[in-house]
Assembly symmetry: C2
């Protein structure tokens, strides 16, 4: 299917937008009028630039408040339309979006509206231009696509059709099933926008909160299936009014947009059983490893040792140590990447257990993930890796034969971890505000993870957002944080380790000479006593061991945090009886504790 | 009246909040539970710290979902309450906020709710604690203050009263007049919050968009008058959930909060005719001058000269030049303030014509404006100055005898401006996101300006907000911009000059060898022709002269912009037939032009 995007969806000047759209692989654009008005290029020059970039100009928009009860106003509107037609000829655009009138003098009479639109279509035809009539959700009289279609059908002119916009249809709760009654050749244009499900004024919702398909709560797959069943053969075009996209990096947003359409095409192909060319590997089942770059492996190794990890291997050719405890593996890489400009210790890579690493990597590549060059020695394991939105490298590792493991020479004599940590329970990744939705779509599309509800967490210095993503089996868990930047920013990223006996671990850590765990304020425990009737002994044990507590409808959750090293810290978690959450209720207390003056550094 | 504020209204740790609240002059605080949980101080230590700072702890909150249909839940809630009572004894807080139940098992039966609340009040009485019951706007069954009052009256216990919250009352459109039927001694607490008038889910509106009185759209003066007529003698307490305040500077927000209460007390005193101690000068009538700090007065003087200004004076003791043209006066100060870290040319001060400068300054000071120290030579004019939120110095100048003018030695021979500029029409000031609402309240309270609607302007790199403020006579106009920061940020501040013959000025500027005016894209003029039927000749003249055009229901507006020097530029405006706007419709085209690659610099 052809792909297109409205220039209003991106940040920047018109030429910056066109270039980013072409680079991301779109076939065409909708030119949003304001973008042209501010552009120093003439319409002819814009047309030439688009052609040079291989982009068609699929739509010019918007033309507002056309159908009017006042003959004077109608005359002025026809005059205004003539100007637009001439402009569109210079642009090489042959479809004009006309949206339903929102003003108080809008035509109430459907027959009159049809007559006026037919008149407009006749004038447009003289210029080889077609009119796509769209019902705005807040149109004065015409607010639904079926109403718009009745008028278009009555007008009955070959140069008049309708424009469908998923936001205007789904935000009003209209049944998109009615689309199938419209002949495909009368659907002149299809605009696709998703949005989070908000209860607010629909105009404000539309103007500020739209997002790319898969980032919100609308069923765009269902809607698109209805449209395609009509035989619609025009472009799938994104028209996204979003305050964040307006100021985000243009190139990134364009790629994010294209990724959303590729994923949507796959899901609609599934519904229509028409087949998709996207590689479909089995879902990754867990974490093979987490890799931390650190200029000071001694310090971090000391912390891992305290948690019960043992140094189990040394990479054959790179300054990378493998630390292991049961199924939890942490790599410490002394090479700090250039991107980490402050040289601080931070998470740089994740190994994912994949049933078919090559197919996983091919899917990620098809979904526009940057493929990472590998500097590999001849006898090392081939690892397929792509960059996640936050720059974390994702390696797809075979589950059956973990080849990468063989690149590490075992320590002699072999050492085993000494604690009760079993595996990596989940990993928390930090994203700036403008990459949060992008990241959710990335993990949903590339890894097939299911996004949970986005939740708010009160940090003493601002509200944060957090969203968990899990695979179908519940064995791979990622949590995406919207990171706070600036002087009061915290790392926002950490590694949570599943511990089969967190009490024993906490006791051991408590008895170490250095402070390894994050001290939790006593007031937390007073409140815990009020919230849950745990019994005095159990409550005292939690307090003494510095364990945090949560509960859901299934079971209990015990957890603790380590001190922070550079930009990373660890969490130990124990899930009892199938608890499924992440202890979010305790996040404010943890964040407050992390903001408190730092304890003495850990000395291994 | 006593003043108080909920800790949730501010950013930071609990101790940072207490200190800022005390510094801003509040009498007390409401402790929001989450702030205590994350605090390393014990409740006793918090109490001691508050006492040390001279703050009472007026309320502990919130206690949620108390009244319940399940006997088990009620028992657990009473147990939970006992914990809170003991905690409050340690804190020295003797009022607990209990809000109406929002859960599905909330009591529907008012008699039962009264019975349970009486039971709670009895338990509270044993600890010397009172219960203030509040109807949340989204309470499951109890959602209005009159409903809460009926239950409290029925419960009839001396330790049970109601808490009124202006947001919960006004957001639901309840008539606050009914408050007067409640005996003042049964109103245990009053929480005041304003909010912009948004059409959205009331819970989200409340949690994210509350603001200080005078910053939103609620009639808090009217509500407070009703409350005071009951004889209520408790504190006026601010409880503001606001995403911006949560991450803004704590001290600034606390001062902003206190300023809002001082202004509110004045306005309610006017309604109740009880008298206010705030100095009330006449409104400033216009701009005496605008002062620009610049390391390069030659360049800026060149630009002013091109606009028809003449250098009319030199300050007796400071490196300051006076440039004048009719009633428009611009000071060029070679001393760049330290705060301007990049040393760039920018607006640093405004002189305001005040009928009584000393009273204007006293009012500003009473409203917590920082009073600026003056370095004045013995024979120089005394100028009263305060700092505006963006750091601009505001000087109050006498209208009748502008003393400051005498500090400038006239240039010999005297020079007059040569153009048609008559006065400063308006000044646009830039504010970061977290000072925008603060600035609106400041100018409203300190100068008595009326805020217009806040409007959105599409910059190619993000949406901006802009809000005009004018005096009653319409002769003093300020426009507050929310400035975009970062690499794509524009100055956001400028000085607009009223020109009686802008066509002549534009013609003169066009013929200068150097580019002085901002070039406007040709596409703007094509669109102008479609939007307005101006006639070919008039349209051609606008295009040739680079003039922008707007129209409102009264008249027309012609304007143009100069190139930018450092962080400032000028606008020339001509208002025809009483046009009252600011040409906002043209702002996107202007912003796009300003983002375009800079023209060659102006050489004077």
């Amino acid at each position: 299917m052809r792909t297109s995007i409205a220039t209003v969806s991106l940040s920047g000047s018109l030429t910056e937008k066109l270039e980013a759209v072409a680079r991301a692989g779109f076939d065409g654009v909708e030119i949003f009028e304001n973008d042209l008005l501010g552009c120093p290029l003439s319409p002819d020059q814009v047309r030439a630039r688009a052609e040079q970039l291989g982009l068609s100009i699929d739509l010019y928009q918007p033309f507002r408040d056309f159908d009017s009860t006042s003959p004077d106003r109608l005359r002025a509107n026809l005059r205004r339309a003539e100007h637009k037609f001439r402009l569109m000829e210079r642009l090489g655009a042959n479809t004009l979006l006309v949206c339903s009138n929102v003003s108080t003098d809008a035509v109430i009479d459907d027959d009159l509206a049809a007559e006026q639109l037919r008149l407009l279509a006749e004038r447009a035809a003289d210029h080889g231009i077609s009119i796509a009539y769209e019902a705005l959700a807040w149109g004065r009289h015409v607010g639904t696509y079926l109403h718009a279609w009745r008028i278009v059908r009555a007008a009955d002119h070959p140069n008049l059709g309708i424009c469908l916009d998923s936001f205007h249809i789904l935000s009003r709760g209209s049944d998109p099933g009615g689309i199938e009654a419209i002949p495909g050749e009368k659907i002149f244009f299809l605009q696709l926008a998703d949005a989070p499900l908000l209860a607010m004024d629909v105009l404000q919702w539309s103007r500020h909160y739209r997002c790319f398909p898969g980032q919100g709560g609308f069923d765009l797959t269902g809607l698109l299936a209805h449209v395609l069943r009509t035989g619609y053969a025009g472009p799938l075009s994104l028209e996204i009014f979003n305050d964040n996209f307006r100021q985000a990096d243009t190139g990134r947003t364009a790629v994010d947009a294209m990724r959303s359409l590729i994923a949507l095409e796959e899901s609609v192909a599934e519904v229509l059983t028409t087949g998709s060319s996207l590689p479909r590997p089995g879902q990754p089942g867990g974490f093979a490893f987490a890799e931390i770059a650190t200029p000071d492996p001694g310090r971090l190794g000391g912390l891992l040792g305290a948690l019960g990890f043992a140094r189990a291997g040394q990479h054959a050719t790179k300054p990378v140590e493998l630390w292991e405890q049961s199924g939890a593996r942490i790599l410490l890489n002394r090479t700090v990447p250039e991107a980490a400009d402050d040289g601080a210790t931070s998470l740089v890579a994740l190994g994912l257990d994949s049933p078919d690493p090559a197919i996983s990597a091919a899917r990620a590549k098809a979904l526009l993930s940057p493929v990472l060059p590998r500097h590999r020695a001849p006898d090392e394991a081939p690892l397929d890796a792509v960059a996640a939105p936050d720059g974390t490298e994702l390696f797809f590792c075979g589950c059956a034969k973990p080849l990468w493991r063989e690149d590490f020479a075992p320590v002699v004599p072999p050492k085993d971890g000494t604690g009760s940590v079993r595996s990596i329970d989940h990993v928390v990744l930090a994203h700036p505000w403008d990459q949060f939705d992008e990241a959710a779509l990335f993990y949903r599309a590339v890894l097939g993870l299911r996004p949970h509800e986005s939740v708010e967490v009160a940090d003493p210095y601002g509200l944060l957002r957090s969203r968990a993503m899990t695979n179908a089996a519940g064995t791979l868990r990622l949590v995406l944080n919207m990171a706070k930047v600036g002087p009061r920013g915290l790392p926002g990223q950490h590694i949570a380790l599943a511990d089969d006996d967190i009490r024993a671990t906490a006791r051991r850590l408590r008895d170490l000479p250095d402070e390894v765990t994050l001290p939790i304020p006593d007031n937390y425990y007073d409140d815990l006593r009020a919230r849950f009737d745990l019994g005095e002994e159990r409550h005292r044990e939690l307090r003494e061991l510095g364990l945090l507590y949560d509960r859901d409808e299934r079971g209990e959750f015990l957890h603790l945090y380590t001190v922070t090293v550079g930009r990373i810290f660890f969490e130990l978690v124990q899930r009892v009886d199938g608890y499924r959450g992440f202890g979010m209720a305790n996040a404010p207390a943890r964040l407050a504790a992390q903001h408190a003056p730092a304890p003495a550094p850990v000395d291994p």
